[in-house]
Symmetry: C2
Subunit: 327 residues, 2 copies
């Protein structure tokens, strides 16, 4: 038995979540029994997808959902040995004991930071890769618009599109992120949607229209993109962060789907197991040769997970938001 902590949802948020919607709860974690492992969390992920689930299927008063990387501290399960790093979906627990189902041993490339396995080589990376190349059916050299291009998924999408020879326009909400996208990542045009009139700026930035709009935002972003979509354009729908907390603008320009024969299609990271091997191979290469760059915002301390999750909706993060539990 060891002292541990968990993050619980204790009240369903009304709009943007606030700290008091969550609680840090002290618990005792049992030792590993026969067939079990005990895992110490090392890194936890907070992601926009969590917001709708706070309203829907996240139970109250149990550990918050979420993925992470942990280190095995006790093992009575032959698949794991003490010291192994594992990917897990055990949620926001400092320490947890389970039967190891759904966990995979992670052998990180020594040339890469462990943190990349929580973004570019993790769920956000396969989301970007599968959503752009399969759902979006990207062809080399096309015209691409990526919303929240400074975010964890968007920045990977923008860079894969550049690698595929595309013309890439990104939107972002801060001048810092805009500068990083333009100067470091090298995309073709950046729009700060908080300081520029989005529809006009997007029209100017896309003289050849848009073949693929990678949708992370919804609302006004979608309305701005719609009239710019080329015939047979595709809109892979990864997220609609502008709508998750209620409010925001309704979408009025969807009729542009019709004459454009535009296809919008939703997807989630788990849709692409058949792409996993190609993804890991491609992305490891791109990260090591510097063709995919990334930003991270790492909050130190297990108890800061709610702060990190809430911060996603105010743009607190540059790139992927992570919680470091132990180093």
């Amino acid at each position: 038995m060891s002292a541990s902590r968990q993050i619980h949802l204790v009240r369903r948020p009304n709009g943007v979540p606030v700290p008091s919607d969550f609680a840090v709860v002290e618990v005792d974690t049992p030792d590993a029994g026969e067939g079990e492992v005990q895992v110490q969390n090392v890194l936890m992920s907070v992601d926009p997808y969590m917001r709708p689930r706070l309203t829907a299927d996240q139970p109250l008063d149990v550990p918050m959902i979420g993925g992470g990387i942990g280190r095995v501290v006790q093992s009575l399960n032959p698949r794991f040995k003490e010291g192994d790093l594992v990917r897990h979906g055990a949620g926001m627990q400092e320490l947890f004991t389970n039967d190891g189902k759904g966990m995979q041993v992670l052998t990180p490339d020594p040339g890469l930071s462990l943190t990349v396995y929580m973004h570019a080589l993790g769920g956000t990376g396969i989301t970007a890769y599968g959503g752009l190349l399969e759902t979006g059916a990207l062809k080399d050299g096309e015209q691409v618009f990526v919303s929240t291009a400074g975010g964890a998924v968007g920045s990977v999408v923008a860079q894969i599109a550049k690698i595929k020879g595309c013309y890439v326009v990104g939107s972002t909400g801060t001048d810092d992120k805009a500068a990083w996208l333009k100067d470091e990542v090298g995309i073709d045009a950046v729009i700060n949607y908080k300081t520029q009139p989005l529809a006009e700026a997007l029209k100017e930035a896309t003289p050849k229209g848009i073949d693929v709009y990678f949708e992370n935002v919804g609302g006004g972003h979608l309305d701005a993109a719609m009239p710019r979509m080329n015939v047979r354009g595709r809109i892979p729908v990864c997220g609609m962060i502008s709508t998750y907390n209620g409010g925001g603008d309704g979408v009025r320009n969807l009729f542009n789907l019709i004459y454009g024969r535009v296809r919008m299609e939703g997807f989630v990271a788990s849709d692409f197991p058949h792409l996993q091997a190609a993804f890991v191979s491609d992305m490891t290469g791109w990260l090591k040769d510097g063709r995919v760059k990334y930003q991270e915002t790492i909050l130190d301390g297990f108890e800061r997970a709610p702060e990190g999750l809430i911060g996603l909706f105010s743009g607190l993060n540059n790139g992927k938001m992570l919680i470091r539990v132990t180093s």
Copy 2:
């Protein structure tokens, strides 16, 4: 040279078109020259798709766009002889002379009314057939929701879905149309969206969710359908009549696309030339054996075309709206 009339757009509508946006203009139509035909219009079609084009690419002070059936009255073109019936896209002209390009001789089935070639066996029919079966990828026995199911396209969609063994729910705006759909067409549930709360009624009418939503309306209809969509559902987008005149509600529930992996895709009638032979064969059979029923609203008199077009937006029509120029 023969006296004729044309319908011109003389002012771009602001919202719902009004009669003074149009003019009936008297003209002289030249006789057919070498290689030409002169055609007397018999039936003209007015359709919702025309509304956005009044704002976009319909030129002022020339004949309105539109399709119809005419009779050849002069021919110096070997493809046509006097008395032939032809399908044409020459627009709203009582009489016209051209080189015959884009016109096809029509040989109607003697067991069917000529008018069906303007709807169930014409553009609205192939729109319903291709949109439901190809864009919507309908599978036998699925759960189907059709908006404006009392309309020219919607009523054919609903009946094809019934022929394919599906459970079919339709929305319509009058009790007359609702009664026809329920009692004559035999669909499973009808919602009068003007007298019933749409989202609640749709939830009740679709206990097994929706696999295919055939979209003719947009706005509140789309918002009501979104939470009901089953995983891997499809939304073929034929029209969004609620948005064509401006105003209406913005769409707020599109985030349901994501976890549902729902696909929305626009299409137009001309996308399905490869289906034409199968369509004509299937639909002729279905009409003759009474499995596809239809309603028509026929306005007599060339000059009533603007009234017919405007009436589409107030539900003046039961089923397909046609203008009879001559009999």
